[in-house]
């Protein structure tokens, strides 16, 4: 009897073990296989994709990557008085990069300044401001697209990269606030006291002493801002019409019609688009994961 039940337990343990790993395998497959298939197909020829979608490429061909840049013509990029004429896809890439970096600077600088004040000082309306900022996490920005469109138009920032930089910085405001505030709260005030006694001013203390210590927090906020700006679609679609200021996610919209018979180039374009996000995420994975959970719970 004992041996029977222990054998049954052993069998049950094996089945549980098997089911557990099968489940995890399915999770990994649904997560990675779509991306791997697209990346793999970007090295195939059009005919190979159409005739046998599941097969490996017969050889590594970079035609798709070259064509993605060639196929939709040239554009001129203007910033800070420089003009560069280049292929459209390269241009969309550059715009995405410029907007993502711009919004990192604006968001991380502005919001860490106010997070520092919120973390260190008590003042009138402090609770009102914090509640207001956190409430904005609850309001879906999709409900305000038209009003934001009108406002951006009013201040003359429609069809500009600056307009998108400001909107993206605002979208990430509550998230950066949570990350930076908790980071500043963890820094002992004795450091600042010492700096003030040594005669340092407020700005020197903040930029030379506090900000360098807060680097890990700043990096996390920067990665999350990068992911938001690099991936954003809806506002890029509504706030821009000129091709010369449009971003990568929107380029997919063009490719949909232009590339309808050139799958290789479409897949190459997708691969080039998702790679920076994956790199940015894997670089700072642990920090991103912990702040994402903290942000969602507080939201």
């Amino acid at each position: 009897m004992v041996s029977y039940s222990s054998r049954r337990n052993l069998f049950k343990a094996y089945v549980t073990w098997f089911l557990k790993y099968l489940f995890l395998l399915v999770i990994v497959i649904i997560s990675l296989f779509p991306l791997i298939w697209v990346a793999m197909s970007s090295f195939k020829t059009n005919n190979e994709i159409l005739s046998n979608a599941l097969a490996l490429p017969s050889g590594i061909s970079f035609e798709g990557y070259k064509n993605a840049f060639k196929i939709i013509g040239d554009l001129t990029f203007e910033a800070f008085g420089y003009r560069i004429t280049m292929q459209k896809f390269g241009m969309f890439f550059l715009n995405s990069l410029y907007i993502s970096l711009g919004s990192i600077v604006v968001n991380v600088l502005f919001v860490s300044m106010s997070s520092y004040i919120i973390a260190r000082y008590d003042f009138k309306l402090k609770n009102v401001i914090v509640t207001m900022f956190s409430m904005s996490l609850l309001i879906p920005a999709t409900s305000m697209i038209h009003s934001i469109y009108i406002l951006v138009n009013r201040i003359g920032l429609n069809d500009t990269r600056t307009g998108l930089i400001l909107v993206y910085s605002a979208l990430q405001l509550p998230m950066t606030l949570f990350i930076m505030r908790s980071y500043f709260l963890g820094i002992p005030t004795s450091l600042e006291e010492a700096a003030y006694i040594d005669g340092a001013g407020f700005l020197t203390t903040f930029f030379k002493i506090i900000m360098p210590i807060a680097k890990p927090g700043l990096a996390t906020a920067a990665v999350l801002q990068f992911l938001t700006s690099w991936n954003e679609f809806l506002f890029a679609l509504t706030l821009t019409t000129k091709e010369s200021v449009r971003t990568l996610p929107l380029s997919l919209n063009y490719f949909l019609s232009l590339f309808s018979f050139n799958y290789t180039s479409l897949f190459a374009a997708i691969t080039m688009m998702i790679l920076p996000s994956i790199v940015a995420y894997t670089l700072l994975q642990e920090q991103v994961v912990s702040s994402l959970t903290a942000g969602s719970v507080k939201g």
Partner: protein
């Protein structure tokens, strides 16, 4: 720390940029959404005139709006149940740190951190009728004539769109994992000593302790459906007909294509109201923030 006038000066200076950013792109637009929804404001009649509740009355009899409303509610319901269960199941499995759990955690996150526009394109190609992986795989299994056009057939469009978000629950997984790691280990040890199997421990001890985290997960998963736009816009565009239309897409079409601004903002107000009602009732239901002990 600073004192006196200097103190107030720097407080104002350091708060001002964020406050300006907030009011420009959150506060003022939010006010505009609410106020203009009570006016008549279209491209054809650009002069605004007060209209009371007429935009809202019109919504009640607008069949496209009703479909979008119903679809959005169905998707909220599916996300807050099926999606949250999948995420919780993955978290409970990974919490025991089986071999390779970190790899699974990272992989599962990846579809979530890439651009949802790119992900929509990937799904569109995977479910392509001719060369898509899914149909090719089904043909390989012996159904040689299988030719379902997943996204554009009215029988499968809703299912395919739903699939694209319901099975990807990495954020839920992370939320639950974080909560599990904060559970007092001695409780689990005690259960083990009393002879509970790991399945029994999960069901009777861990799950009830996760009430707060599951409540937050339901809020996150449900409200995400009020923001969903890209995937539908780049695949079905709400079709066939209005099969996969949701509120954000309907708002976008009304504002940017039909150019009926005040009506679009009335749709926006309903999105905000659904969100607020949903968050409040889920927090009540799960008594989020209250402790059992």
């Amino acid at each position: 720390m600073l004192k006196g006038k200097k103190r107030s000066f720097w407080i104002v200076m350091f708060l001002a940029p964020s406050l300006v950013l907030f009011f420009m792109f959150y506060g003022i637009p939010l006010g505009m959404v609410f106020s203009t929804s009570f006016f008549n404001w279209k491209l054809s009649t650009p002069k605004m005139s007060f209209a009371g509740f007429s935009n809202y009355m019109q919504l009640l009899s607008d069949s496209s709006y009703r479909t979008a409303f119903r679809n959005t509610l169905i998707w909220i319901a599916i996300q807050s149940t099926v999606h949250v269960s999948i995420g919780t199941l993955v978290a409970l499995t990974l919490a025991k740190h089986p071999k390779g759990w970190k790899f699974v955690r990272t992989s599962y996150m990846i579809p979530n951190i890439i651009s949802s526009a790119a992900f929509a394109m990937i799904f569109l190609n995977i479910f392509n009728a001719e060369y898509g992986v899914v149909n090719n795989f089904i043909r390989l299994l012996g159904f040689e004539d299988f030719n379902l056009n997943w996204y554009f057939d009215s029988r499968s469009a809703f299912f395919t769109v739903t699939l694209s978000w319901v099975i990807y629950a990495p954020v839920i997984m992370l939320l639950i994992l974080a909560e599990i790691s904060s559970i007092d280990q001695s409780i689990l040890e005690a259960a083990k000593v009393d002879g509970a199997s790991s399945f029994q421990t999960d069901i009777y001890i861990v799950l009830p302790l996760l009430r707060n985290a599951i409540g937050s997960s339901v809020v996150v998963a449900g409200t995400s459906m009020l923001k969903e736009f890209e995937h539908i816009y780049l695949t079905t565009k709400g079709g066939p007909g209005t099969t996969t239309l949701n509120l954000p897409l309907y708002l976008y079409n009304t504002a940017m294509k039909v150019n009926n601004y005040s009506y679009a903002n009335a749709v926006g107000v309903t999105i905000i109201i659904i969100g607020v009602i949903f968050v409040i009732s889920i927090n009540r239901l799960f008594r989020v923030g209250h402790s059992d002990i």
